[in-house]
């Protein structure tokens, strides 16, 4: 059985454990397909290449992007480029995030990271310990 929620469909499982796992995997799959469709409609080049693989965890593009952003490359224990970079991007750009996005990310880090996030009004509501 499938249930629809804002265009996002996910399977209904018999146990809470299986449902949680399936929900996370389905959400990640949905997000990437959504981004592929958006990008393909934007340009001929991206329409041609978006179906291809993003080479390795840190491909040449990833390294070039990290350097251009002035980012620290992923450290030991941070498993992927995306996760490490996401943490840094939140520091750089939290004041640029919409209130809705910022609230979701603050609540997520506060709940699962076990760490309180405070707003710093002097930095436009940016993250601060």
């Amino acid at each position: 059985m499938m249930s629809a929620m804002n265009g996002f469909e996910r399977p209904a499982s018999e146990t809470p454990e299986a449902a949680g796992r399936e929900k996370v995997l389905a959400a990640a799959e949905f997000i990437v397909k959504q981004e592929e469709e958006r990008l393909e409609s934007r340009s001929k080049t991206f329409s041609r290449i978006s179906a291809g693989a993003f080479a390795a965890t840190l491909g040449i593009g990833g390294v070039a992007l990290a350097k251009a952003l002035g980012a620290e490359l992923p450290m030991q224990g941070q498993e992927t480029f995306a996760v490490a970079m996401a943490g840094q991007a939140l520091m750089w750009g939290s004041k640029l995030l919409s209130d809705q996005s910022r609230s979701k990310l603050e609540a997520f880090v506060g709940t699962y990271g076990g760490h309180r996030i405070l707003r710093d009004p002097a930095r436009g509501g940016g993250f601060r310990e």
């Binding site: 454990e17 299986a18 949680g20 796992r21 929900k23 996370v24 995997l25 959400a27 990640a28 799959e29 949905f30 997000i31 990437v32 959504q34 981004e35 958006r38 340009s43 080049t45 991206f46 290449i49 993003f54 080479a55 491909g59 040449i60 593009g61 990833g62 070039a64 992007l65 350097k67 251009a68 952003l69 620290e72 941070q78 498993e79 995306a82 996760v83 490490a84 970079m85 996401a86 943490g87 840094q88 991007a89 520091m91 750089w92 750009g93 640029l96 996005s101 979701k104 990310l105 997520f108 880090v109 709940t111 699962y112 990271g113 076990g114 760490h115 309180r116 993250f127 601060r128 310990e129």
Partner: protein, 134 residues
């Protein structure tokens, strides 16, 4: 407040009071980018563990998130290119997403790249957290 919310609050409160970050907070220390990256990394790992993801599941979810983040970044960065730069990108014989990212990274100033990347993180991670029910 239901039992699940209480459990979350108690867990968060316990972690806050005993965490190294809480101690540095008490000392008035400010976080660095890498500190926050580590907190985000930990939160994602904890959330995946709580959802019962295997190592293979976790790898798959992270790969999809990484790809979504990069695709979102590319779309936003493409929109900021001048018409001439967009034409150059279309005319180049770019075959991989890696090459496209490299082009975009060289075509925009660092402050714009950071703005675009932060916005991509907000949208992709926020959307994922909401849809995954985290």
């Amino acid at each position: 407040m239901n039992a699940k919310e209480r459990e979350r609050d108690e867990k968060a409160e316990h972690s806050r009071s005993s965490s190294p970050q809480a101690k540095s907070e008490a000392n008035g220390a400010k976080s660095s980018g890498s500190d926050f990256a580590a907190q985000f990394d930990k939160a994602l790992k904890d959330a995946f563990a709580k959802a019962g993801l295997s190592d293979a599941d976790k790898e798959l979810a992270l790969r999809n998130l990484e790809r979504a983040l990069i695709l979102n970044f590319c779309g936003r960065a493409y929109d900021l290119l001048s018409p001439d730069a967009q034409r150059q990108l279309e005319e180049k014989d770019i075959k991989t997403l890696d090459e496209a990212i490299k082009f975009l990274a060289s075509a925009l100033p660092q402050n714009k790249l950071r703005e675009v990347f932060a916005a991509a993180v907000g949208e992709v991670m926020g959307d994922f957290i909401e849809k995954a029910g985290m």
